[in-house]
């Protein structure tokens, strides 16, 4: 009989009661006394010189309280990039200032150059329209190849559109070139990893308030990462001391990466709140979300795979152009480098990897981490070129992968791309995938599709990702400007219930359910008596937020460490209460027992004793029962998986239908299988969305042509199949206390190449010699590929 609480139980998500009954409390739901509204005036051109901004009419409009322009922020700092990358020649990356409001130039459509604060949002909108901006339209820089010619510049002051030219592993460059030159067979593929708009259901929203009596600021904002936002505002942008700034991220309706970062709107509402002594709220509309949320992906890549005559992988070499947009968003320099290049050995024993990434400024919205962040790009390149290679040399795509897999007895394994994988079993995942995906029934399904006039194809994929971001010592050596540990405080209240303050932020992940399962199991008490507190810098010790599938592996480990400290102290108290030696105390099922006796005291009694310390050894033990732990991981965690997709292609229209999708993942130990399955489902929807539907298109003038759902295709339920999800083949992580790896991004990493591999397979079975179709594999793109095959 499965457990219904504790580690391994599919406990129902307690947060869903409020989400599903409309009782969630999102930032825009918050109403403050005397609240006023901010609206931004945004550029309608992609690249323009600001000649002048006349706000005089706007200032006279009804209800207007203040108008800000870039001039008001020339003395404050820029919003920085969190990771320093050096070019191959040793030069540091170019870091043009990212101001709160555009000053001198506007650099993408949607770039804010002014803000109006008014009594109501409608008044602020009216006034924003009355601002007269004299902006000289300059040629837009959109295409990355064109941008690298430096004929026109996004940032004049840096003299180039290239942010950096990075090589990984630079010392292996010559050897990789040599291996490719001498290889028996080299497979080459040029591909595009399509740019995506994050499309969180809740648009961004920020509320700034200021108390002149105490000089305290509060920012309530849609953030995955409130402490980092506080740090950036304090240390870089506005200089508000950290102890004078509270950042609160209440319920957040999805982030997918886009809400990790600090945005200028957050600084603006704080500055306006101070100036006016009023609470100032800004809520993005959907158009602003399209134009200004940090986008994802946008890589153009050439990848080569060298093999010997037996199909052994000898080297991978890639050249990638990665778009960073008009400004460097906080993680934008890490995403195409250390979250991408380090994964380019995949699951394979390939001895050589060389990755070259040129990051390019363009007159488009900033591009940063989006669900998977660099790892989907790596997986897509690898798993597409391996599929193509198998076809070229006449090998079964699964057998070719298996031949080159790292084997279970090779761990820890130093990959050719510089990581040390701690655990895995890729053959076991592949075996399970073949079973769950019903390989045995494939031929019959091909015939059924044939009978309907449809071409069925099957694609597979093996992926590995680096999660549990991240070991601070390692990332510090690689250029990270922050540490990537996390923190937790476990507070046992006098009456025996618990508040657990965590640095991770839950915006759909289910932390409020999962962390109590862990603590409850460790203490032997009912998880229902444990509550999670998160998203408020004034209540939690510290945190680096939620992204990179890190919450359980890093913050969960901090929770474990803090709980261990609680247990240690509680044992001391229990030993005193039972007049026994501390070493003889055992904790079992919520009771502290003297080993070998029936003397015992309950957890609740110990908690009460800690707070009512009568007859308490205060010389040895402090009153109270509260412990904090910071946890810095020893390594990344390495989830891996084997995926399979079956599609049907309509040969007349090019329309692709995903019929079956199988995801077999190794997440290590699993705390709540239901929540893990849900995370995989969500990731698969986003991955299939990228593969089939989603595309972000700027035209030559830098206008975003896909700026609404009329042209930006989101996956609907009808576009997605029933999923076959399995996580029974876990190999526990060897270096964190729970043995967990992280599951939030896997689906979005593993599925895109699986879908495209399946589409190419279907077209080949249909007699079309198509070797690649760029994403999205829309009907039009597939039809065009068929026409030229």
């Amino acid at each position: 009989m499965p457990k219904d609480t504790g580690i391994g139980a599919s406990t129902k998500r307690r947060e869903d009661l409020r989400y599903l009954t409309g009782k969630g409390r999102y930032t825009d739901d918050i109403r403050a006394y005397g609240e006023c509204a901010a609206v931004f005036a945004r550029s309608t051109v992609a690249n323009g010189k600001i000649i002048g901004i006349d706000t005089s009419e706007a200032e006279k409009m009804p209800g207007v309280l203040a108008v800000f322009t870039g001039e008001d922020f020339v003395d404050v700092g820029g919003n920085p990039a969190g990771w320093l990358i050096n070019s191959r020649n040793g030069e540091p990356m170019k870091e043009p200032k990212r101001p709160v409001l555009a000053h001198g130039k506007v650099r993408h459509v949607g770039d804010a150059y002014a803000a109006v604060i008014a009594e109501t949002e409608e008044q602020a909108r009216d006034a924003a329209e009355a601002i007269i901006a004299d902006i000289e339209d300059l040629p837009a820089i959109v295409d990355m190849r064109e941008a690298l010619k430096d004929e026109a510049l996004v940032h004049d002051e840096i003299g180039t559109n290239q942010c950096f030219d990075w090589g990984w592993i630079e010392d292996n460059r010559a050897a990789t070139d040599e291996a490719i030159k001498n290889a028996h067979h080299v497979t080459t593929l040029e591909l595009v990893n399509n740019r995506l708009v994050p499309n969180a259901m809740e648009p961004r929203c920020s509320i700034g308030s200021y108390n002149p009596a105490t000089d305290d600021y509060v920012l309530q904002t849609t953030s995955q990462n409130p402490h980092l936002t506080r740090l950036l505002i304090s240390a870089f942008v506005m200089g508000i001391p950290e102890n004078k700034l509270t950042v609160i991220a209440p319920d957040v309706g999805g982030g997918f990466g886009s809400k990790i970062y600090h945005y200028g709107e957050e600084a603006l509402v704080l500055a306006a709140a101070k100036k006016l002594g009023r609470t100032v709220k800004w809520t993005a509309d959907r158009s602003e979300a399209f134009l200004t949320d940090a986008h994802g992906r946008d890589h153009v890549t050439k990848i080569e795979l060298a093999m010997d005559k037996d199909g052994n992988f000898l080297a991978f070499r890639t050249e990638t152009m990665a778009n960073v947009g008009a400004y460097l968003s906080n993680f934008s320099t890490a995403t195409p480098t250390f979250l991408h290049g380090t994964l380019m050995a995949g699951n394979y024993t390939v001895p050589l990897v060389y990755v070259n990434v040129k990051t390019v400024f363009t007159n488009t919205a900033p591009v940063d981490a989006y669900r998977g962040a660099g790892r989907p790009e790596a997986t897509y390149s690898l798993e597409r070129v391996i599929d193509k290679a198998a076809r070229e040399i006449g090998r079964d795509p699964i057998e070719l992968r298996r031949q080159n897999f790292i084997k279970p007895d090779q761990y820890p394994y130093a990959s050719a791309a510089g990581l040390e994988y701690d655990a895995g079993n890729y053959d076991a995942l592949m075996d399970k995938m073949e079973e769950v995906a019903d390989f045995a029934g494939f031929d019959a399904r091909v015939k059924e599709s044939d009978a309907k006039g449809l071409w069925r194809g099957r694609g597979v994929n093996a992926y590995i990702e680096a999660c549990g971001i991240a070991p601070s010592n390692l990332v510090g050596q690689l250029g990270s400007r922050v540490g990537l540990y996390d923190a937790a405080t476990v507070r046992v209240n006098a009456t025996g219930n618990l508040s657990v303050m965590v640095g991770a932020h839950s915006h759909g992940q289910g932390h409020e359910t999962v962390f109590p399962q862990v603590v409850g199991e460790m203490l032997g008490i009912d998880p229902a008596s444990i509550d999670i507190v998160h998203g408020d810098t004034s209540k939690i010790p510290f945190g680096m937020g939620t992204y990179g599938s890190r919450s359980l592996a890093v913050c969960g480990s901090a929770v474990v460490r803090a709980t261990e400290k609680i247990i240690a102290k509680a044992k001391k108290i229990a030993a005193h209460m039972l007049e026994a030696s501390e070493g003889d105390i055992e904790l079992k099922d919520g009771n502290f027992t003297v080993a070998g006796t029936d003397k015992s005291v309950g957890f609740g009694e110990v908690a009460l004793k800690a707070y009512i310390p009568h007859n308490f050894p205060i010389e040895d033990i402090e009153p109270g029962l509260e412990e904090t732990a910071f946890y810095d991981p020893a390594n990344f965690t390495y989830p891996s998986g084997a995926y399979c997709c079956e599609v049907e292609v309509d040969p007349e229209t090019g329309k692709v239908r995903v019929d079956r999708m199988t995801a077999v993942d190794d997440f290590g130990n699993v705390i709540n299988p239901m929540i893990v399955t849900g995370q995989v489902h969500g990731g698969l929807a986003q991955g299939i969305g990228q593969a089939l539907l989603e595309n972000t298109h700027y035209n030559a003038d830098g206008q975003l042509e896909t700026a609404s759902y009329m042209d930006y295709a989101m996956p609907l339920a009808e576009d997605l199949p029933m999923y076959h999800v399995d996580h029974s083949q876990g190999t526990p992580c060897t270096h964190n206390p729970l043995g967990v790896k992280g599951c939030g991004e896997a689906g979005a990493i593993g599925s895109p190449p699986t879908v495209v591999n399946a589409v190419v397979d279907a077209l080949q079975r249909g007699g079309k010699n198509v070797t690649h179709v760029d994403m999205p594999v829309s009907p039009h793109n597939v039809w065009k590929a068929m026409q030229s095959a």
Binding site: K655, N695, Y709, D711, P779, H780, W783, K784
Partner: protein, 262 residues
Amino acid sequence: MYNFDITRPTTVDEAVAALSADEAQPLSGGQTLIPTLKQRLAMPSVLVSLTAIDEMKGITEGPGTLKVGGGTTHGDVAQATKGSFAGLHTLASKIGDPAVRARGTIGGSVANNDPAACYPSACMACAATIHTNTRDIAADDFFQGMFTTALDEGEIVTAVTLKVPEKSSYQKFEQPASRFPLVGVFVAKHADGVRVGVTGASNNGVFRWAEAEEALSSNFSPDAIEGLSVSAEDLMGDLHGSPEYRAHLIKVMTKRGVADAS
């Protein structure tokens, strides 16, 4: 949204009178106009809601015809045509989602004449008559190009009468984002010949595919149009489909419509 006044007349005459105000605009189901207002892309002084006019609602069967009030929702049309008018039932029941079908109306659709609207193709294929407060207009004369119709300022579509075909089918190939037709083809087999209405495809809005009509009128089978092709000239091209792709889809969807017609 900019500020506006709204009035909700209960008769066509009152609505016509209200529309004579400066910058007045009729509002039916609001599935196009309300989003436009929200984006501040329209600034009417007064919205004249047509949704309280009972005489513009409902569906009546005539001899070989179906008369649909201009204020009748897609959902009501879908209900009323189930099992009796296959093409129109498919068309109405697949517009947007349930919320759209509960509000959007046939009058709003034909009066707006979005080049990717579904209803105009049915009107063309079913030799519809568009009734207004002043006159009756044949569908062939009513639709005059993208977002352009024969309607005069302040003229209201009060009803649409469609000729009920012996067999019909509506084939929508969806644009992946909006789910509007990238190409929509309405095939209608009437006693006196076959009509084929095509929407979503042309720079000039809805049109009839004359060559296919002729071929299908003498042989109502997919094979009859095998040798035909649609010129890509004047067809729309965008992110979701080139003119050549749309031309190709018109033929594919027409063949499927013929095979499916019931």
